[in-house]
């Protein structure tokens, strides 16, 4: 700018000198002054030119210095948005330099404000995204990652946030890419390599072409749906069988069999057995619903594990003898837990009874207990055929049976383990099942140790 001004100034000085020459011509002519030569005229002209030029250059230098100061101050402000350009308070309001400084300050202030607002937005967005249980993946038009929240990182098994990297390098689920290609909002349920069942939803396009994928882990939900569906199917099946027998026997009796001395006792026995069975199932269901509703009152006291186990064993001794199963107990005398004695007895009878029922004839059942940190771990092991993996995970569900025909024959209601689980959990314990080596199963429960007196 200054260069242009300088050129203009030279031109202006030249014009002024020309004007001076013309004016002096007139003056010389009018006053009849004789100049000795044209040389003097040239000298005068040059002097005028020189004075005009010098005055102009001084003016430019002054303006330039002020502008330079403004430029430097502006650079400082650009580097540190908290600084401001100093304003000359003595300068008049309409001074261009002052006005310019004020506008620079205004812009700087505005920029700081927008910066702060943007930073806040960003923190807010990432806080919201990180806090979500759902996985959030945002990609740009080139399917490069813009955002990957904690849940999504966990689902895809990545530790860093690979912003700017292509999504395909971290997720190759075919359905997800089909969704990204789709024009509208859509969803699909897939199995991630981590094994999670995941519902992937794609939101509509954001910005120019980017898209947002939402990943929701539905593993538990799907499992619960299966449990519920199976429960309804099982409960109706379990109830229908005895009812059908009762109805058939009663009809046969009414039709005349009641007078048949051979048939009648058999039919009546069938009636009785199935009525008992129904009653057992209903009692168990009632227990379960009470436990579910938290109406099952347990009174926690200090229980000596060995003494209680021996008491429970009396309930199953006959059965063990009938199948010639050897029972071995290995529990330290002094071991005590914080539990409800009646509930713990019910649990132990149930688990030991199962072990005796499902181990091989002339098999072996071990009941052992030991201290496990702040808990006591009680184990009931058998050397039977064991339980397949796919059954083991579902064993504690209501009416779930690994081998339906066999367990019904054995007289179970299908609710025992589910009641055990509820009771143990009500007493702040845990229960589970593992394969026993070399064969059989180990059912274990952990209950809190009673505080030492």
């Amino acid at each position: 700018m200054i260069q242009r001004v300088r050129l203009q100034l030279v031109l202006l000085a030249a014009a002024l000198s020309l004007l001076a020459v013309v004016i002096s011509r007139f003056v010389i002519h009018a006053e009849r002054i004789e100049l000795s030569s044209t040389g003097e005229l040239v000298v005068v002209t040059l002097i005028v030119f020189g004075i005009a030029l010098a005055a102009g250059l001084v003016a430019i230098a002054l303006v330039r210095r002020q502008l330079r100061e403004l430029v430097e101050a502006t650079v400082q402000v650009a580097r540190d948005p908290d600084l401001r350009v100093p304003i000359d308070a003595n300068a008049p309001r309409d001074d261009e330099i002052r006005e310019l400084s004020e506008w620079v300050n205004f812009l700087a202030k505005d920029a700081t404000k927008s910066h702060a607002a943007l930073a806040r937005e960003k923190v807010l967005l990432s806080a919201v995204a990180e806090g979500l249980n759902q996985g959030v993946i945002a990609v740009d038009a080139e399917h490069k990652i813009e955002l990957l929240n904690a849940a999504a990182r966990q689902m895809l098994g990545v530790s860093s946030t690979p912003v700017g990297e292509p999504l395909i390098e971290f997720m190759r689920v075919p359905a997800a890419f089909e969704l990204l290609e789709a024009d509208e909002a859509a969803s699909a349920e897939v199995q991630l390599p981590s094994g999670q069942r995941t519902l992937i939803r794609v939101a509509r396009k954001w910005g120019s072409e980017g898209r947002v994928l939402l990943l929701e882990d539905v593993t538990t939900m799907r499992r619960l749906e299966t449990v519920r569906r199976d429960f309804v199917a099982n409960v109706s099946h379990e109830l229908r069988t005895p009812v059908a027998v009762i109805r058939a026997n009663a009809e046969t009796l009414l039709a005349g069999a009641k007078d048949d001395p051979v048939m009648a006792p058999k039919l009546i026995d069938g009636l009785h057995r199935n009525a008992e069975r129904l009653a057992r199932i209903l009692a168990d269901l009632l227990d379960l619903s009470r436990l579910d509703a938290g109406q099952y009152r347990l009174e926690l006291t200090t229980v000596r594990v060995k003494a209680l186990t021996e008491q429970s064993l009396t309930a199953v001794e006959t059965q063990a003898a009938a199948r010639r199963v050897t029972l071995t107990v290995d529990i330290p005398e002094e071991l005590t837990v914080e539990a409800d004695p009646k509930a713990l007895d019910q649990i132990l009878v149930n688990l030991i009874d199962n072990a005796i029922k499902y181990t091989r004839a002339e098999g072996h059942v071990w009941v052992a207990a030991r201290i496990d940190d702040e808990h006591v771990r009680i184990e009931i092991r058998d050397d039977g055929p064991g339980i397949a993996d796919k059954h083991r995970v579902r064993l504690f569900e209501r009416f779930y049976r690994a081998d339906p025909s066999r367990s019904r024959e054995a007289g179970g209601t299908g609710l025992g383990l589910s009641i055990v689980k509820h009771l143990v959990e009500t007493m702040d314990g845990e229960v589970g099942v593992e394969p026993n080596t070399p064969q059989g199963s180990t059912f274990w429960l952990r209950l809190p140790r009673s505080p030492t007196p």
């Binding site: 399917h143 292509p166 190759r172 199995q191």
Partner: protein, 227 residues
């Protein structure tokens, strides 16, 4: 080339890359589902695998068409050209892997009609190895990692070794109890399918090395016959 068409070209290459990777993943899933159908004796799952193979076949056609279209309209050169020619081979191998997975599912259907074999031959381990290798090959492909691809090529030896020992084990079964032959034969097929999956995976890895390094590593250890 104008900025606009160059952007379109980039997008076509990206789509091609994604389609190849997801097709590979589908084949990977097919292997694991087929093996699940076999070990859990699940007919429904086996039929699902057989049906899903159509999707992989469709993928092959789509990808072929896309690659040819890029070749015809963009006249790519250098690494782009290598990538596209590589993708034409890649789909063939992945499609074959899909077919082999379907083969496993078909054998599962046959075996499910027969009583289970007493001692289980460890086919699951062979399948896990084959799957791990395929997964690594696909990782190498998307990350353009020639070193990882070279490792996949080397790992194929393990699959071959395990295959040989499992095969011998299966034959021993028939030798001790000839009545098991109807159940052992389908299992030997599964064994062979898994070994073939390993070979196709090795091909995929070689193609990745070619794409990244522009060097052909196929048939490296075959001696050149003297003239």
């Amino acid at each position: 080339m104008t900025a606009h068409t160059s952007k379109d070209f980039e997008q076509e290459l990206r789509t091609l890359r994604e389609r190849l990777a997801t097709m590979g993943t589908r084949a990977e899933e097919q292997i694991s589902l087929a093996m699940k159908a076999l070990t859990e004796r699940d007919d429904e799952l086996a039929r699902h695998v057989i049906k899903t193979d159509q999707v992989i076949d469709r993928d092959e056609n789509d990808i072929d068409e896309l690659a040819l279209q890029i070749l015809a309209t963009r006249q790519p050169v250098a690494s782009d050209l290598r990538f596209i020619t590589m993708s034409l081979k890649f789909v063939v191998d992945v499609e074959r892997i899909g077919d082999l997975a379907t083969g496993i599912a078909k054998r599962a259907l046959e075996l499910n009609r027969l009583p289970p074999l007493e001692s289980r031959v460890d086919l699951v381990r062979l399948a896990a190895l084959a799957q791990k290798n395929l997964h690594a090959a696909l990782d190498a492909f998307v990350k353009k990692d020639a070193d990882a691809a070279t490792a996949v090529i080397a790992a194929d030896v393990e699959i071959d070794k395990l295959n040989a020992s499992l095969f011998a084990e299966l034959i021993a079964h028939v030798a001790t109890d000839p009545a098991t032959v109807t159940r052992v034969l389908p299992l030997t097929s599964v064994c062979r399918y898994l070994e073939r999956i390993g070979d196709h995976t090795k091909n995929l890895a070689e193609e990745v090395v070619y794409m990244v390094r522009a060097t052909d590593v196929r048939h490296r250890n075959i001696p050149i016959p003297p003239n």
